[in-house]
Amino acid sequence: MNHLLNRRHFLNRTVSGLSSIALASLLKDNGLLANESPIRPLIDPSRPYAPRPSHFEPKAKQVLMIFCSGAMSHVDTWDYKPELFKRHDTPMPGSGNLITFQGEQGNLIKPIRDFKPRGQSGKMISDLLPNLAEMADDMCFIHSMTAKSNTHGPAENQMGTGYILDGFPSAGAWVTYALGSENQNFPAFVAIPDPRGVPQIGPRHWGSAFLPASFQGTAFNANKPIPNLARPGSISDKAERDTREFLKRFNGRHLEQNPGDSDLAARISSYELAARMQLAAVEINDLSTESPATRALYGTEDTNVSKAGFAKNCILARRLIERGVRFVQLFNGSYAMGEGVGNWDGHKKIHDQYAVHAPILDQPCAALLKDMKARGLLKNTLVVFVTEFGRMPTFQKGANGRDHNPKGFTVWLSGAGVKRAYSHGATDDFGYQAMENVTTIYDLHATMLHLLGLNHERLSFYNNGIERRLTDVHGHVVKDILT
């Protein structure tokens, strides 16, 4: 790996303020770091998004992470449990006086929709998401996922950043810090919030925390463009060009007089990138170039405004992936509207709430997967479909809905480097607790990084005394699901 890591070269060009680099060398000289020392990406401050080599040959070059906010119930969607039908409305054996997030538990309740075999593989998936179910042969399920927290905020933090506390860099920030991007006219990392709003932890899903701010995700969607992107209406195109030209010359002369600071050059190029981004970002949101067939496939003209909005976001996600953006995050559901109203948090009336949310997700998201497959994008892109935790197989006492359940739930992957039509791990007979091949979010993140050619134990950043990683001090690559 040494050719990637000419430390002196890097030191000379490092983003100023990243004294951690000097520190790492010091640690090493002091013998405090073992042989498996951090692998530092070589970042040219004037081109922070330049593509950078991975630690080893990657299977995936890009990531599309789909996040369903509010905790999607696995027992009503992906995780088929015949026992729940058999034991409908009876107490869950061994549950005693189980207290979960909102209090006491009632009886086991069968899934809100029937399950049917799907695709060639015959994978059992419920009727709640019929279009997505059709894509079963392209999915690789992890049915034994577990989360560390039973509360939305911390659990979203964990899925997004690896830690239940606030203040850690998001997975996308880590990936783009390591790898840069294939597209120099865009931020390397784009987050696409649901038209209804943002999830519970909001921008922390795409924050850079203590990583350099260059690697924070840029949030925009089909309705809401990048902040401050457009030239203000009061300024004419000519005035804009004249001003920019003047600024460039002025900064150029300032640089000549002050050749001792490389940051000055970096800042000049940042204005040039900004100008290119203005063009690229307008182009990418112009969905009029999509064929009517494609638009119909996603459902962009649906009379359900939330669904049509989400469908447009799905097309935007595909276009960003097509243009080489390294990490795209697509959100389904928003938090601020409250419990279960705009998201998957079905505590009280899960039948009614899921009848609203499922159709918003289903057709557009299935179309996205189908379209990406048809265009060959799944060859290089890893799709990761997640939620913060699962839900109980029981209903809450005195309510018609399911409480939080971090002890076992389902996520699925698709595309580059993962098996198709495959299921890894399992929960118990009721879907309450992961029993077989118990998997953690650390493992999921480790696997994601592995597919991108990154060693999750060596991708680290020194912060306040610790070499921080996306996977903390945990994580094992789930080798079973890899092709």
Partner: protein, 969 residues
Amino acid sequence: MRSVLFVFFIPSVILAVDFDNEIRPLLQKHCIECHGEKKQKGELRLDAKSYALKGGHEGPALVAGDLAKSPLFQRIISTEDDKRMPPKGERLSAEQVAAVKAWIESGALWPENVADQAAAVDKRLQHWSVQPVKADFGKTASIDGFIKASLSAKGLSMFPEADRRTLIRRLSFDLTGLPPSPERVEQFVRDNEPQAYEKLVDELLKSPHYGERWARHWLDIAHYADTHGFERDQLRPNAWRYRDYVIESLNADKPYHEFLHEQIAGDVIRPDDQQAVIATGFLAAGPWDFVGQVETKSDMLKRAARAGDLDDMVTQVITSTMGITINCARCHDHKLDPITQQEYYSLWSVFAGVKRGEREVSAVESKRLADEKDRLGKRLTQTRAQIAKLAGQGLEIATLIPEDSGIDLRNGSVTKDKLGFHRDLMTNRLQKVENVSGVKWVFVADGKGTVRVDAKQEVKGVPATSGHFWDTIANRPLNAQRSTKLGDIDFAAKGHTMLAMHANSGITFDLVKLRELSGHAAMRLNGLVGFGASKEVAATRADFTVFVDAELKFQKLKLCKDETSVLDIKVPATAKTLTLIATDGGDGISNDLLYIGDPKLVPEVAESRLTEVAVIELKRLRAEVQLIEGDLKALPEPAKVYAVVSEAKPPVIRVQRRGNPEDEGAEVTPTAFAWVKHASAALGDRATPEGQRRRALAEWITHPDNPLTRRVLVNRLWHHHFGQGLVTTPSDFGLGGDKPSHPELLDWLADEFLKSGWSLKHMHKLIVMSAAYQQPSMSINSEAARLDAQNRLLWRQNPRRLDAESLHDAVLVVSGTLNPAMGGAGYRDFNYTEAYAPIYDYITPDKPELWRRSIYRFIVRTTPHQFMATLDCPDPANLTPARVNTTTALQALTLSNNDFMLQQAQHLVTRIENETDSREAAIRRAFALSFQRDATAAELQAATPLVTEQGLFALCRMLINANEFVYLD
């Protein structure tokens, strides 16, 4: 035991195993890499006898004579891939395995040699930062002496001092966070006095802007914000007092050890000193998880949230003051520093009784205010009683309606039921009330046209409404009414009456009938109109209107929670109807819980019926009521601050194995860590009261012999003056942190700090007066760059980009809009929407409240401020000893197009136009204001066509985007 085995079991043939020749080399070759000084997988070391016998996770590595209990042997013969040692490469040969077997069976004789003994010594105890601070430097020692010495050791030297303009800009930004005025620059450049620079330093250190600037650095370390953070990021409306405390303390040059004392234990040391109480806002400054600590029903989640809380507090205190990454010992002993997990939890027990919360700044003051309120309240009641006595009792109109009942708006009947939301009734249609004497009609008003209040009477002036309604018009609190109190009177209590009217209800009284009932002719309607919603719905509004016949006599629009309005309306002897109407304030009917307290028709006292004395007395009493009411209104709420809420009896703290709150181990007592030996680490025992624990810790931290506290602080100052510290990891002085580039200089500064009485301003002056500080930053010395690319030796100053706050504030100064108001609640540049998780939408109104310095920004923890965050303003979830500095396209877009920048560019235009009278003068002024220098002839020539064609705005917008504006030489 071993020796016993030795005696009994060792046949001479096995004695032949020679540890030093056969076993030690095996350990060396196959084990030490992972189980030695550098790495201790499974917490096991095999590089010294003592370590091997102490063992790791699986207990001792070997037990003499017992192969089954010797993991060392079991691991080398294991056939399981994940157990076998060594894990990679060739297995040990059969001969080697046999040798180990024989060695253990024979008693595992391990003669200790020098290497064993050396390995067993804990070198970490000799780490530089925990050694006493050197103090014997002699009188001639100086910053420049140390810097020059290390430069000349490499054959390098310093640059001569930078030009005056560079120096004054650097000093101004460093010490006050603001640019100097062009006039002050000019004056300084021309000042030939040898003391000119020093005078400037003194002037800037005296400026109140100094505290505003340096408070920002301290608040970064304290991860201060004005909301809780986490899932429900609620407001902390009184956190700002702590921010002001920091500013004021710095401006007063409060000795640093006192500053720390107060922040850790001010409420204990001086409970009656408001500032000392406010200071503990430091311990509460970080995030707090409402859902985890309060809302969840799961005790397990509560324990986890509290654990996170204590970790945050302990980490903040120890890293900020002593630069030790204590939090690394939460799940296991510290991997690098000699700090045990037990020591970490012992620090928890110092804070075990500390909770973050809103508290009164001064119990004495709060009591005084409460007493005063009580006294005024009593006087008011008495005075009103006297008025009633003189003027006659009057008729209670609420009690016309039977007790605990209401009139149903749908049919005029009396009901005891509480009704809910209705939207299905015809509006403005009178419903006859048969069973309430004195009441003629009820109706739902919509105000879109005229409103009928009597059979042949229509009125104008009722606000337009939704036409929906809620509940009856009642002689009791309304359905879902939260409050029945106005001032200090509870109108639901005995001795009072209330008429409750939710929007959009109307009621018409029959005055003819009421005159019969009361026997009065001319009357006045008296009462207090109030709003019975809870605090949470403070945003809703409602209106109240009164008509006598068709004449509008009273109207209060958009009444809100906690607002009251006094009714005192003339009802002439000839009037026929009295109509009261509650409407929805235009924002829907929810929570419009209006009511009138003690509504009465009192007789309009005919002067002739009262004695002259009584008339005068009545007038006096009415005036007195007004006075008392004024006094009550003027009484301030007791001052509050978000700070430490202390529990007298702190809970017992136990070690949490693997950092898991559900897996507790041994009890710990308040103790500091033993690595630093300046004073006893014991801070108390199980019985020590909460506050005394913190006080003891504060004293331990600020002990003059504590080797870390002073070093860490002077290094922080150095970091901010030079862009990097002598130690480049300002909050990590442990083995994982950096070593000082100039250890002696660091100690000399720490010593000087003590001698100055912990004076920060003394240290600032010392540093900025040095020649090292006054060097240019952009000069090139290629030999120095080759030898010392990071400029650790300080062969020049370091150029720096302005941080988010300085850039924001500099723009305000240049455009002339800076609002210099100091202190008080932060400015809120967002729209706030109350919700389960409040929503913060940032806005950029162009007005003076928002032109204050950014230190006064109301900081929302979880919703980053786009402008500030893009410029690397840190996330207040994190303790930030050193900011990262990035250059991105989003910054370029933000500075070019963000509303704030555009508004300020326009203000700069206006300012320049006011101050100049020609194009050339305008361009010159623009350069002077922005860069505090004259425009060159070339610049003037280049700028003229831009201004001619695109206007002065284009130039101004460009200047505040320029590198020269954004970077500090």
